[in-house]
């Protein structure tokens, strides 16, 4: 895969810029001057061992933790420090760690809540697209989210985020608890999303899973970026596994 899709110029405004961001939770500094960039149309993976700071990074971008320092820009527009729901409205879709579905609401309710900010015509279009992308959800529209299988729940979490019509999608370890076959079917939706102009930032622990779907990757350790490069290049780099992903 080329580093940048030719349809988007390398010098175009990046979809997402994280610049020197520091996040503290209580007295702990969890992200420590972290910077990265996601270009329009790219799929970029943030790799890191458990506890490296991936979830904190995604939550900071989504506005769930206010950064102490640094800047976050969505297509050139500064978004750091805004209330989280406004960041969602600005175009950041978030598939959070643990999925955070509404267990006693139906699949249809989730799609409706995700799409509540779009005008009705756009909402209907997004909904039709989600049901085409995840046909199994169409067969479960009336079912409560709490009764879905793990794979179905993950798909619903992704569909809910996509219903907000995001320009950047944050995916926090979507492979957690899923069989490899199902993970691949989730990753197979990425080219479709790219077609629709959605850029993807994916957090993963597993090197193979994390790199199969990505153009580029960053390796994060103790809240800092320690390595970065094209996915193919990092896949060859023995330091990634030896030093940073453990095992």
């Amino acid at each position: 895969m080329s580093e940048v899709d030719p349809r988007w110029g390398a010098d175009a405004v990046p979809a997402l810029v994280v610049e020197n961001v520091t996040t503290r939770i209580g007295p702990l500094t969890i992200l420590d001057g972290l910077s990265l960039e996601l270009r329009a149309g790219e799929v970029v993976t943030v790799l890191g061992a458990n506890g490296a700071g991936k979830t904190t990074l995604l939550r900071t971008i989504a506005g769930l933790y206010p950064p102490r320092q640094g800047h976050i820009r969505l297509f050139g527009e500064s978004i750091e420090g805004r209330p989280a729901h406004e960041i969602t409205r600005a175009g950041i879709g978030h598939v959070p760690s643990g999925r955070e579905l509404f267990p006693r609401l139906s699949v249809a309710d989730h799609l409706e809540l995700g799409g509540r900010l779009s005008p009705p015509a756009r909402r209907a279009e997004l909904r039709a697209r989600m049901l085409a992308m995840f046909p199994v959800l169409g067969r479960r529209l009336g079912q409560r989210a709490g009764t879905l299988s793990g794979g179905e729940q993950q798909m619903l979490a992704i569909a809910r985020a996509l219903m907000t019509d995001p320009r950047v999608l944050l995916l926090d370890e979507p492979s957690t608890g899923l069989a490899p076959k199902i993970v691949l079917s989730v990753f197979q939706t990425f080219p479709m999303l790219r077609e629709q102009g959605v850029s993807i930032l994916l957090a993963e622990q597993s090197l193979t899973l994390g790199l199969t779907a990505a153009d580029r990757a960053y390796v994060v350790d103790q809240g800092r970026i320690v390595l970065s490069g094209a996915a193919a290049q990092l896949a060859e780099d023995h330091r990634v596994v030896d030093t940073y992903l453990g095992r």
Binding site: A62, E86, H94, P96, L101, L113, M163, T164
Partner: protein, 286 residues
């Protein structure tokens, strides 16, 4: 026939309990806050209705929409002042501190009510007789208030499950992060829930004072009654709480008939103890 009579009386009383409990449940579901001032809002609204209806001669039920709106505004004003600042402290800390804050609010409201209306028990003299139908005796006050309460509860249920703002509220109570991921302003949802919870409690107060006598010092009994019902029904579950409220109404009606005396008023406390001992897990959110 007697069994049916007891059942009907119990269900009508239970209808009123649905409203008393659902308003507490609403606030708890969204914020994890047990509003200890719940009964005080009921009592204040009830005593106001008594005072207003008896000094103007206006039908007490006509006061209900007015009380509902005013108390919704009171709730919307109090929430950002008293509850919202606690929400940033994390759930468990917020739960404990909110007990203290709402206890303080309860104290203030009850003392105010004592200053304004004194400590004697009063009831609105309205719908005192009963309807006879198919050999059964229907207390007019119970029928009318039970119907009103059922109507308000049904409207609440419809609003929660069928409207965008209602569903946003359910969503925020099931996953705050998930709600934010949908672009829902959770802070606003919390204010709405508190305003609505207080307004519904007040509506219940207007109805309760038609059925039984209230005094400011009744406030904590009503809070406890509502708490027992939501604990039995499953905290945060709307259907469970409605069923528990109806069952408690019937259980009280049965105890009142067969045991008599004050047994029916002791029943909620006995149930609370039984629930706490037998099902401690009930006190977690559904």
């Amino acid at each position: 026939m007697l069994a049916l009579q007891i059942l009907v009386n119990g269900l009508l009383l239970g209808g009123l309990y649905v409203l008393i409990a659902q308003s507490l449940n609403l606030i708890f579901g969204v914020m994890g806050v047990v509003n200890l001032a719940h009964g005080a809002f009921i009592v204040v609204a009830g005593l106001f209705t008594y005072w207003f209806a008896s000094s103007t001669g206006i039908n007490p039920l006509a006061v209900l929409p007015f009380v509902f709106i005013v108390m919704a505004l009171v709730g919307a004003g109090l929430q950002p002042l008293l509850i919202e600042p606690l929400m940033k402290m994390g759930r468990s800390k917020a739960e404990l501190l909110s007990l203290m804050v709402t206890f303080g609010l309860d104290y203030v409201l009850v003392e105010l009510a004592l200053q304004v209306w004194g400590s004697s028990f009063v009831s609105v003299p309205y719908l005192q007789s009963s309807w006879k139908l198919a050999g059964l005796d229907f207390s007019q006050a119970l029928v009318v208030t039970g119907m009103f309460a059922a109507l308000v509860s049904a409207l609440l249920y419809w609003w929660l499950n069928r409207t965008d703002s209602g569903k946003s509220l359910l969503a925020a109570s099931q996953s705050e992060t998930g709600a934010i991921c949908c672009g829902i302003d959770v802070k606003r949802v919390r204010m709405l829930a508190f305003a609505l919870g207080v307004a519904l409690a007040a509506a219940a107060g207007v109805l309760v004072i038609i059925v039984e006598a209230l005094a400011p010092q009744t406030a904590d009994d009503l809070t406890l009654l509502a708490f027992v019902i939501i604990a039995l029904g499953g905290l945060g579950s709307y259907v469970g709480v409605a069923v528990a409220a109806l069952l408690l109404g019937v259980a009280q009606s049965i105890t009142g008939y067969f045991v008599g005396g004050n047994a029916e008023y002791v029943l909620p406390y006995v149930l609370l103890i039984l629930v706490m001992v037998a099902l401690p897990g009930r006190f977690r959110r559904a």
